[in-house]
């Protein structure tokens, strides 16, 4: 039995006008860390809300630990943990009260599954008498994760836990997920940050309700059809413009200090490109082969 199964799952809003989720199918295995990766409006939250039985599908079906999201919704609710994108704990209860509250609702006690949250809760313990609303952003997030874990869920759903979070806190959060994975909890997480894809066992890329692909990050990267080059010059805006106008170029995207470029001719010689760019008046040119990133793959699929 798979932890999560989606079969042509669809969601339509506004009397059929807006297709939020368009016949999406994928599976998540037990103990897997699965990432749903895509920008705002891709349908990630709608999928999460259907899987956690908070929203009824308009088509297709889905099950979580073998239970149907429509027929067995009550059973699913007691077996999954859900951390929504927006902070949704009680701001006027203390850290400890929030935890106790969620434990009680799920018929358990803090002590029972303390081992699951121990590593995270230790960092919160000095503030356990503080109102949840008065915690810093990072601390709120840790508390929300503890509350979602307190009943030892079979599957943990995390909807954009790192959106708007600075790079340091993002890294810390993923460290916590890695540790949770050791505890054999299935985790489904969504994110708009493409660089987080590599931290998942498998990922689904999603855009405008359509699932573009599902695979391991390594397989998605190795399926990138062309050789990519990282190109740099002293004047980057000029380089990007020159490349866009260059007849040999197939794709050309800014990637931090480099541009990632592919060519129509896979056998093109680096020297040819280099001297063309020089002729166009660019200086400080650097050009080398580079592996694709998940973001390259995402862009490629969007432009198809």
């Amino acid at each position: 039995m798979k932890a999560v199964t989606l079969n042509g799952l669809s969601k339509v809003y506004g009397k059929g006008k807006a297709i939020a989720v368009n016949k999406v199918s994928f599976e998540v295995s037990n103990g897997e860390l699965f990432g749903l990766i895509g920008p705002d409006g891709a349908g990630k939250t709608s999928i999460f809300r259907m899987l956690t039985t908070l929203l009824l599908p308009d088509g297709g079906s889905a099950s979580v630990i073998g239970l149907d999201v429509v027929k067995d919704h009550k059973k699913i609710r007691s077996r999954v943990g859900y951390m929504p994108g927006r902070f949704s704990l009680y701001p006027d209860l203390t850290v400890e009260e929030n935890l106790t509250f969620f434990a009680t609702i799920f018929n358990t006690r803090l002590a029972e599954n303390y081992h699951l949250i121990k590593d995270i809760y230790i960092q919160l313990e000095p503030f356990k008498k503080r109102m949840a609303g008065k915690l810093s952003g990072g601390m709120k997030q840790k508390l929300a994760l503890c509350c979602a874990l307190i009943h030892k869920p079979a599957v943990l759903f995390l909807d954009e836990p790192t959106t708007g979070v600075d790079p340091v806190s993002r890294r810390e959060f993923w460290e916590m997920l890695k540790q949770l994975k050791q505890q054999a909890i299935t985790i489904v997480v969504s994110t708009p940050y493409m660089d987080e894809a590599n931290l998942c066992d498998r990922i689904g890329l999603i855009q405008s309700g359509d699932l573009l692909t599902v695979d391991t990050p390594a397989n998605i990267i190795s399926a990138y059809p062309e050789q990519l080059y990282a190109v740099k010059a002293d004047n980057m805006p000029a380089l990007l413009k020159t490349l866009s106008a260059y007849d040999e170029v197939l794709s050309n995207n800014a990637f931090g200090e480099y541009a990632h470029v592919s060519f129509k001719d896979q056998a093109i010689e680096v020297n040819v490109v280099q001297s063309y760019l020089q002729q166009q008046g660019l200086s400080g040119i650097e050009l080398r082969r580079t592996p694709a990133t998940i973001e390259d793959c995402f862009i490629k699929r969007l432009s198809n």
Binding site: L135, T163, V168, S208, G256, E257
Partner: protein
């Protein structure tokens, strides 16, 4: 020598005992893309609100577009543009109505408004969608439209608060093309972001930690100084010791 569009000297904001922004001093030159980075809670938003004339500093000095951040806040507001991920445009007005509304607020004449509307709609290829409600546009379109509306009145400087959060990777790049274009028209860009690849697109970046500016230089110099291969690493080295959260 180009003139400094933003100038601060030990600019500070206290809330009671808490020093949100602690004596920050820096200058931003005309036509520059300045990346204003920092961990959550580092004091970026407070600093930005002071620079936009929305919050009076506790101490220190500052000017924006030549106007004083204590005494000339209304003049500052007229000389700047602002957009954030959260507040962009009126969802229940059409594309054209939004352009007219914001242009009107910034004092553009009817004639200017007409010309600017045509130019903007043409730039974004929105000819067919100009009478659509903004609420029905995809997020990426909204963000691009919202940026061009923020620079409709050719401000001296435009403040962008996480303008590309949650935007797809293709639109994110198109957004930066718009930023480069506006810089060519000598608008100064002051931008915050959590995407470290975008930090590379800035001429200079500052990194705030616990209320102070801990580093300020070109991305290239910062990487050299911290022995890092990416801005992500530079940021991590500087901000991982941060004591404050949001």
């Amino acid at each position: 020598m180009r003139e400094a569009v933003i100038k601060t000297d030990k600019l500070t904001k206290r809330f009671g005992e808490f020093i949100a922004t602690n004596a920050i001093s820096f200058e931003v030159q005309q036509g520059e893309i300045f990346g204003f980075l920092g961990a959550n809670g580092a004091g970026k938003t407070t600093a930005m609100r002071m620079l936009c004339g929305l919050l009076i500093p506790s101490s220190g000095a500052g000017t924006v577009a030549g106007f004083d951040v204590y005494k000339q806040t209304e003049k500052i507001k007229k000389s700047i543009g602002y957009m954030s991920q959260k507040f962009s445009l009126y969802e229940d007005l059409t594309v054209l109505e939004n352009i007219r509304f914001f242009g009107g607020i910034y004092g553009l004449s009817n004639q200017q408004l007409k010309a600017k509307s045509i130019e903007l709609i043409h730039r974004l290829n929105l000819q067919k969608d100009k009478d659509r409600l903004v609420g029905t546009l995809p997020l990426g379109w909204k963000q691009k439209l919202s940026f061009l509306v923020a620079v409709l009145h050719s401000p001296k400087v435009v403040f962008l608060d996480e303008p590309t959060g949650g935007v797809d990777p293709v639109t994110r790049r198109q957004f930066w093309e718009l930023i480069y274009e506006s810089v060519e028209n000598s608008i100064t860009v002051f931008v915050t972001t959590h995407y470290m690849d975008e930090a590379e697109y800035c001429n200079r970046v500052s990194i705030m930690v616990d209320g102070k500016i801990e580093a300020l230089d070109t991305p290239g110099n910062l990487k050299e100084k911290y022995g890092a291969t990416s801005m992500d690493e530079v940021f991590y080295q500087l901000a991982r010791g941060a004591k404050r959260g949001e």
